[in-house]
Symmetry: C2
Subunit: 339 residues, 2 copies
DNA sequence: TTTTTTTGTGCAAACGAATGCACACCATTC
DNA sequence: GAATGGTGTGCATTCGTTTGCACAAAAAAA
């Protein structure tokens, strides 16, 4: 009924558990004869070492906790795939938690992971999180913590982020070079560093190219619902914006729909640029120019960094920050270069 | 340094570990005085029971394993969210594995989960799986197994599936009622029950409405790459298909792009219907009529069923099958009802 | 033959927590 | 003053595995 143990093997072969244990691990002190006997028996009876007992004894385990704020989400699911890829390669398991952008669930997720005695945690903060005690508790429990993408500014620990500033700067500059003059920014809450960095990239690109920074064109608009409200409003201004730089592909795609149904042509009248490079960008009409965030790469790098910490291979004692390069992917919603 | 244990508390208060253990659990044999002493000490020193030790002793744990074939995928990530929701509610943790549509990785995932001694497994099969020994091994190890969506026909165990047949039937009948006569089916490998059931729904809808079942119109076309090849080919037939019923929203969206660039109008000349109801359906032009699979609901039901098995609340001894209702969601890529 | 070395195996403790049983102490009762 | 009962605590074992140490038996050296 229950899985077979070392003791069971020992009893069956009239040996001691210690001998069996050593035989299984090819310990040199065990005779070849005994070794074969034990290993054959283990094989035929499908012996599986009990990981729990092992972990208890060695006080080390190979489970990494992951907290994502959102899972039905192209970027985060891509990051998760990258984490899984790297973790599996290195023999680590993944305990998965989903905060659903909810502070209370994020706190509970941390408790869950600490209770499960994970050896490290990869986390991306929820939008509603404003207190950080739960993250501090991870560190107080001597569990390694690496933030990815939505880092927590209140906690000083390793992190992996996308180069949001450069991504935004490059995208906005591209739109300027193709003749756009009034570029709107549909952003997100400034408390999130990713949103703030993109806004700064956007503004700096305008300034560098001697265009005015109009605060009216810079809005918090990170959901479809907000887009339905804000985009038509911006289209009422005179002159209308000739470009929209959006915080994600979904908002950009909705924005395109609204702009088109208001009678403007894309990209001739209005350019639109998204952020992420998700599936969506290929099925809009026209296809959507976007900034690729390389989520899979980010997941791999974050997992790599955490595992290096766990295994003592990352010797740098201070905080390590890794930057993932972005890439402007030109598609049909922005114009070609104008010379 | 290391987390505090019962023994540590016992030593600090000059008590025995057993007394501390009982005091923590409000055992009646412990005096109120001692109880308070112990609990206060535990509180201030942030004592956390070691789950591993507990699991080892009781031989029960609360971790459920999940195997998904694909994670950067609207439907599966939605199911995962549903599973997570239900599991968290019931105090279970999720060990996450990703087979990436690869048989070898699926086998390894099963090994990983069995090694981790999970109390149950929720799995959806990879496209490339043709042997089922690894799934049988789960059952042989007395671990509960529930399949969801991509069930494994070779293994007789609990399952939760979408009503693919009815979903397809309803969608195809809708297209017929709105005047379509030559409806193409862009399906998937017939070894997958979900694909086969949809094909049967498609064919039965045609027959019921006295339309011919033309094998040339029924193709395996479940990726964007295949769509690029097969859709133009179908558009060369004479007369061209006046509708496409597609295995998923991505293929449907690509199909629309190709049909439009061939000069046909949607839905006036050609109707298109997808399957899933993902974000994509809202950003295509026109929006995409689709069949909602209710992934979140499926995840909840699957987790619920597994947990009931684990906790002995599902008393039915045979195989339990749950069917998730589908729902036709009419958007812009199919015509209105013609009377 | 005796001593030393080698070789193979077993004992016991440890990881952290839970629990049946024994036992010490005090208070009550006859 | 002895028997009884109740109350609070500790001992020892259990889960499955690993590992330092002791020890027995056989082989080699003296």
């Amino acid at each position: 009924m229950n899985p077979i143990t070392l003791k069971d093997i020992a009893k069956a072969l009239s040996l001691s558990p210690s001998t069996v244990s050593r035989a299984m691990k090819n310990h040199p002190a065990i005779s070849a004869e005994t070794r074969k006997l034990v290993q054959d028996y283990a094989e035929t009876h499908k012996y599986k070492p009990n990981t729990l007992a092992l972990q208890l004894r060695t006080n080390r385990n190979t489970t990494i906790g992951v907290i994502v704020p959102e899972i039905v989400h192209y970027f985060f699911s891509t990051v998760l795939a990258g984490i899984q890829h790297e973790a599996e390669k290195e023999g680590y398991n993944l305990l998965f938690c989903h905060s659903n952008e909810d502070y209370a669930r994020e706190v509970r997720s941390v408790e869950t992971l600490l209770d499960a005695r994970v050896c490290g945690i990869l986390a991306s903060q929820s939008k509603t999180t404003e207190k950080f005690d739960h993250f501090q508790e991870i560190i107080d429990n001597n569990v390694y913590l690496v933030f990815f993408d939505r880092i927590c500014t209140g906690i000083n620990t390793d992190k992996v982020v996308v180069d949001d500033y450069a991504g935004a700067y490059t995208a906005v500059e591209h739109m300027i070079h193709t003749g756009c003059q009034r570029i709107a920014f549909l952003g997100s809450t400034p408390s999130m560093p990713i949103a703030n960095n993109r806004r700064m990239g956007y503004e700096d690109a305008l300034r560098k190219n001697k265009l005015p920074v109009d605060k009216n064109l810079s809005r918090i608009c990170d959901t479809i619902e907000l887009a339905r409200e804000i985009v038509p409003e911006l289209l009422k201004s005179d002159p209308i914006p000739d470009a929209f730089f959006c915080i994600n592909d979904e908002v950009a795609a909705y924005c395109m729909q609204i702009v088109k149904s208001a009678g403007y042509r894309i990209p001739e009248d209005v350019s639109v640029c998204g952020f992420t490079n998700s599936y969506i960008t290929e099925v809009t009409n026209p296809t959507l120019t976007t900034v690729d965030q390389h989520g899979f790469e980010m997941g791999k790098v974050a997992a790599r960094l955490l595992i290096n910490r766990i295994e003592g291979k990352e010797i740098k004692s201070g905080v390590v920050s890794r930057l993932i390069k972005t890439e402007l992917v030109l598609k049909g919603s922005t114009r070609g270069i104008i010379r």
